[in-house]
């Protein structure tokens, strides 16, 4: 079981490593969007501190969206998706592996770089830490929910726009709670409740979305 999970993750990481520009594009997009805001708003530290959680989270959401269309598209185009569907291993497990690999090359770098970016917003150290933790818990949820959208829109014309319409509404709870955790910390409150909620969402998504993706993929190849 774990062997096949590791095999799929290794495969997708290897492919991502060979197409580094795709990965760097997503990260660069995130960095640029987050950086543009303080430049546009000006050096008003109080305002920047207030908007920081929302800006970083919205940028993370959009960056995750950007990379979604590629999640299954190349496998669909070269026939590897058929082979995934015909694997004797459970398909939800393979899907979980793909989502995990997607997170490792998009969500994880965003999380790490967010610590540096929060300096631009003059975030206190504890708020910056909570921001990173909330992204670490929240971005995997984005990858998992996004995988459902990517699987549903596979092979459709204008799939990119459709993914946004399908997936962005489902991202709203993650956005509210993720940004809420940082705001609470900045206001001197305890963020533990928010983070636990995010962790709960992550578990919920990790257990349920692979089944939805598997079903959607089977429909997409017909």
């Amino acid at each position: 079981m774990l062997k096949i999970l590791a095999a799929v993750i290794r495969r997708d990481l290897l492919l991502a490593f060979r197409q580094r520009s795709d990965v760097l594009n997503t990260l660069f997009f995130f960095v640029v969007v987050v950086t543009l805001v303080p430049l546009g708003v000006g050096p008003e530290t109080n305002l920047l501190r207030t908007i920081a959680p929302g800006v970083v989270w919205v940028a993370a959401l959009l960056a995750a969206m950007l990379s979604l269309a590629r999640l299954f598209a190349s496998d669909h185009a070269d026939g590897a998706l058929e082979q995934l569907l015909l694997s004797p291993e459970p398909l939800p497990l393979l899907v979980l592996g793909k989502a995990a690999a997607h997170w490792l090359v998009t969500g994880l770098p965003l999380t790490l770089v967010s610590v540096v970016l929060s300096i631009q917003f003059d975030l206190a150290a504890d708020a910056a830490l909570v921001l990173a933790v909330s992204l670490a818990l929240g971005t995997p949820v984005l990858s998992l929910i996004g995988a459902v959208g990517a699987a549903l829109t596979l092979g459709l014309r204008g799939g990119g726009v459709l993914i946004s319409l399908l997936v962005l509404p489902l991202y709203v709870p993650v956005l509210i709670i993720g940004a809420g955790a940082v705001e609470a910390t900045a206001a001197g409150l305890d963020a533990q409740g928010y983070l636990l909620l995010l962790a709960g969402m992550l578990l919920f998504a990790a257990v349920l979305t692979p089944w939805a993706v598997a079903a959607a993929l089977r429909i997409s190849v017909e």
Partner: protein, 212 residues
Amino acid sequence: MLEAAGLECVRGERTLFSRLDFRVEPGTLLRVAGPNGTGKTSLLKLVCGLLSPAAGEIRWQGENIRRLHEEYRRHLLYLGHLPAVKDDLTVLENLHVACAVAGRPVTGAAARAALAELGLDGFEDTHARFLSQGQRRRIGLARLFVSGAARLWVLDEPFTALDVHGVARLTALVGSHVSAGNMVMLTTHQEAAIAAPRTEVVELGPRRPPAC
């Protein structure tokens, strides 16, 4: 044993074939014949479970493949039109990855031997994007040499883009797989003489008399 009973395939608005029955016993080579657009590839995809039939069912050892799921796919090896070859991976990595996803991991030595069988030795560390169409095809076909427990091979136009030597190598391999008591189902436009204990043909086509 693989059986199809009363199969009907509808793509879009068109009925490609209906009331199709056939049986594949161990040690049988089943050739699917017919002009372009008569549903050969669709039939193979039905057999793999990638498409679902509009009517009828496909049974493996007497059980509908819809209910068998992973248990059936363990015995199945499908090579489709698309070679499932990743441009950005090397030849050796492609084979390793394909086998790992299929749940039949191979050792480095076995993978190299399989590639050598198809004349890809010396190309192991070449990226697939630099290979010719026929060579890319061979990467997919190399999986047949390390197919392990797969008893049923479903091959869609396996001879496409292969040279004379490649065709001969593949014919011999398919023949020996069938002779060992396994099953092969394939489509081809070339008349390849495959030495098999038993060869059957399913003829698809617009003028096929209704089987009733």
